[in-house]
């Protein structure tokens, strides 16, 4: 397999404990004062030129948040977060009004270049991009919305998308330009009262992406958002809202990175998906926030609420995630299967190494008739990490003919890590059919021996086995991401064997 060989070479070049995206971009930024208060919420809202209803919405969330308590049920352990010691708003300082990509701070553009984000669509459109080679005819166009600290800095391919009727813009702009859509759907899947972090996000979210695909439209390209936390002591709170109207289709990719820092940084995002009749949303994430160093210092706290609502009949929402980063991950992308015959899917690879702690999984809530769901989760724990799958499958009394299949497998590399499985399976009517299976094991000695005997090093052999272990999920990723994800997996496991 050429891809694997490539992976192995890449791993060789990289030293243990090297986070590829750990650089910092030195640009001037504008920050709100530290701490959280009604004034800060008002400040953010004002900065964004928001209408009064939006400010009201935020303030209600903020007041509710004050009454809530941090959840403690997950299997993660971290010092108490001082929510007053964070910056809730940081934006690259505007030099002047940005009208085109060229006017964006070149430092930021360089950052994204380093990250490999194809922001320079202009060049591509003009046909000056280098020939990729004939073996790559499937190379598709990807529209990118790049979010730097709290602010969306560039959205590409806007014009082409507009032609198709697709709205893809920073949510701050959508609030101003499409208030009727935002007002109708924002908070309709994850209400402001949902949970501690979602409520906090509702109060202080600064930007994120907004997608609306009109009825019957198949979005002509992959949409993508790249999130980057740059500033020190900032929390990133982005909010994504995707609406697929009747009979439409959209595929959305999300990637995340952050500089290497000794302090822990907070990331509390909310993603809401709404699929109406016959619509389909495919949401893929490659999460590679800074995981902390080999002593467990620093890293991102990733407390994310992601939920999709299959509101219409025959709708489908599919989550695919590759989780390799963050010091702590706390996220459960869920599907509410409300429409009859709707379908939810969750494919996940969660890799933890070093001192990382992952508590992730999904919820499949069957409400409509003949709804089906599928969960494939692969957890890999190495180093001194703890990796937990936590998932809920529930069929409501009226969810006749609900079907679920769940397979969650865990792989342990080393004897200092832990892998845990906590599924909740609730059948409330007899026509629901649920199947769940889970296994935990280490890489078989026989398999390793076989590979090593054929000339692979220990590390190469492990890479090969791991890639085979996660193949079911990798296949679900859009091609561009699949290659990237495969490399990431190898890098994440670097230093875990031998």
């Amino acid at each position: 397999m050429p891809a694997v060989q490539e992976t192995v070479e890449r791993v060789k070049r990289i030293d243990v404990d090297q986070y590829r995206y750990g650089f910092e971009t030195l640009i001037e930024s504008e920050k709100a004062p530290k701490g959280l208060s009604e004034e800060i919420v008002k400040f953010i809202s004002q900065k964004k030129n928001e209408p009064a209803w939006m400010l009201q919405w935020r303030l209600e969330a903020y007041r509710r948040w004050l009454t809530m308590q941090e959840p403690t049920w997950a299997r993660v352990d971290y010092p108490k977060i001082d929510f007053q010691d964070l910056y809730y708003y940081a934006a690259p300082k505007p030099k002047k009004t940005v009208t085109s990509l060229d006017e964006i701070d070149p430092e930021i553009l360089k950052t994204y270049e380093k990250l490999g984000i194809p922001l320079r669509e202009v060049a591509m459109l003009e046909g000056v991009e280098p020939k990729v080679g004939e073996e790559d005819p499937a190379r598709r166009k990807i529209a990118v919305d790049a979010v730097f600290d709290s602010v969306s800095v560039a959205t590409t391919f806007k014009a082409e998308l507009k032609k198709a009727g697709v709205i893809f813009m920073p949510i701050s702009e959508a609030i101003r330009e499409h208030p009727e859509l935002v007002q109708k759907y924002l908070g309709s899947v994850v209400p402001t009262s949902d949970n501690f972090y979602a409520t906090l996000n509702s109060a202080v979210f600064s930007d994120g992406s907004f997608v609306y695909v009109p009825p019957g439209v198949r979005c002509p390209m992959e949409l993508s958002t790249y999130f980057r936390i740059n500033e020190r002591n900032t929390g990133q709170f982005e909010r994504t809202l995707i609406i697929a109207d009747k009979g439409s289709y959209v595929s959305y990719l999300e990637g995340c990175t952050a500089p290497q820092r000794d302090e822990n940084q907070l990331h509390a995002a909310v993603v809401e998906l709404v699929a109406l009749d016959d619509a389909e949303i495919k949401y893929s994430t490659v999460q590679n926030w800074y995981p902390g160093n080999s002593e467990g210092k620093g890293g991102i706290y990733n407390f994310v609420t992601k939920r999709g609502d299959c509101r219409g009949a025959n709708s489908k929402i599919s989550w695919t995630q590759v989780e390799t980063g963050s010091a702590i991950t706390w996220k459960y992308p869920s599907c509410i299967l409300r429409g009859d015959n709707s379908r939810g899917e969750f494919y996940s690879i969660a890799i933890s190494n070093g001192f990382q702690q992952v508590d992730s999984g999904t919820k499949m809530i069957h409400l409509g008739k003949n709804t089906s769901s599928r969960i494939i989760s692969k957890g890999i724990a190495a180093g001194k990490s703890q990796n937990t799958y936590r998932g809920l499958v529930t069929a409501h009394r009226k969810a006749l003919g609900a079907r679920n299949f769940t397979a969650c497998d865990s792989l342990l590399i080393g004897d200092k890590c832990g892998a845990h499985t906590v599924p909740y399976i609730e059948a409330k009517n007899s026509s629901a059919t649920f199947e769940h299976e889970a296994t935990t094991s280490k890489i078989s000695e026989d398999v390793l021996f076989y590979c090593i005997q054929r000339g692979l090093s220990q590390e190469e052999a492990v890479g090969l086995v791991v890639n085979g272990f996660v193949k079911d999920v990798l296949q679900q990723l859009p091609m561009e991401f699949a290659v990237e994800a495969q490399k990431l997996i190898s890098i994440s496991l670097e230093g875990s064997v031998g």
Partner: protein
Amino acid sequence: MNVAVAKTGNGRAVSDLFASAEGRLPGSPGVAALRREAFETYERLGLPHRRIEEWKYTDLRALVGEVLPLAAAPDAAALKRAAEAVTAHAIAGARKLVLVDGVFAADLSDVKALASEVSIKTLREVLADEANPAAGDLLRTAATDAVISLNAAVATDGVVVSVADGTHLSAPIQLIHIATAAGASAFTRSHLRIGKGVRATLVETFVAAGKASGYQVNDAVILWIGDDADVAHIRLMDDAPDAVNVSSHFVTVGAAVKFNFFNMTTGAAVSRLQGFITLSGEGSELSANGVNLLQKTEHGDTTLVVDHAVPNCVSRETFRAVIDDRAHSVFQGRIIVRPDAQKTDGKMMTRALLLSDEAEADNKPELEIFADDVSCGHGATAGALDDSLLFYLKARGLPEKQAQALLIQAFVGEAIEQIADDDLREHVIGIAERWLERRS
């Protein structure tokens, strides 16, 4: 937990219960102090509710509401009714130890026949023995929660059995819990210490005598199994349809032991069996199985925590639930593999069969693994009877109910088959058959 939630009207009712019962609870002054401490723990926690993770699906505050006053010691009439129940539920050939309304009934028990092979005392006499400094240990357990604390606080009686090393018991020991009173509660606690190389079969039976109804049972069993022992433990819970049964088992398994546990729930409006099994010696094999047969509005919860504390042990769990009408079955199984418990082989399979559209099955099979060289897995399914199988049987002339009964029998059979003893297995199959007859 939010302490404010714990203070309910029920909490106060229980305080009164303890105050009125304290005088008649057996125990030396040291034991009394322990009881008070346990009761304070209970008072602080209150009855478990859904916000407590382990009790998420069995919210005793909603299901039970209050703890009933302690049952009075059985009078002659009660003992007479109990005797009839003993005759009806005794397993042929087994030696009986009978507890009536939470009090040991020597006259109904086979103390003499047992005395030749094992040592038997009652919890009451051990606790009251002021010369025994270790008496208080009987009220301590490795894990605790509100119901376990309450049991330690007000347990009235139980048996303390010890089987010497190398003994091969010639007959099963059957511990029969009988309720004769209505609207009262019985708190019992039994200790069984099985020596090295022992072969023993224990059967526990929970039944109501005559028309006893609306009662509550809170039982605890603490079982130690010595190295190289081969022990079967079968628990049959068939309490009155409106009774409550909450039982906690603590089992510590030594090295190279074979331990086979089976639980069958066919009665009680609300029941929970929570078993905490610790494999503390290498090379042991555990088989823990259960069947819940539930109907009407019954709520049956089986929670098993298997803790692999040492390397090289094997555990197997097979659980089946058949749920009819508006009944609710809960299975929570957790396999824990401690950091050094390499070469652990743990498997757990739980399946629920829903016979009615209003039935509910909640499964929570957990794996908690801290060692890498292990092979652990679990499976869980929930669903209705297979239509094509039903059709096959009906096409061959079987009436609907009979065809269903046949399939249900096969379904629960997989768990019942794990019982090694032929006679006991037949006895359990008999209970399942009677349940199916009751259904049709």
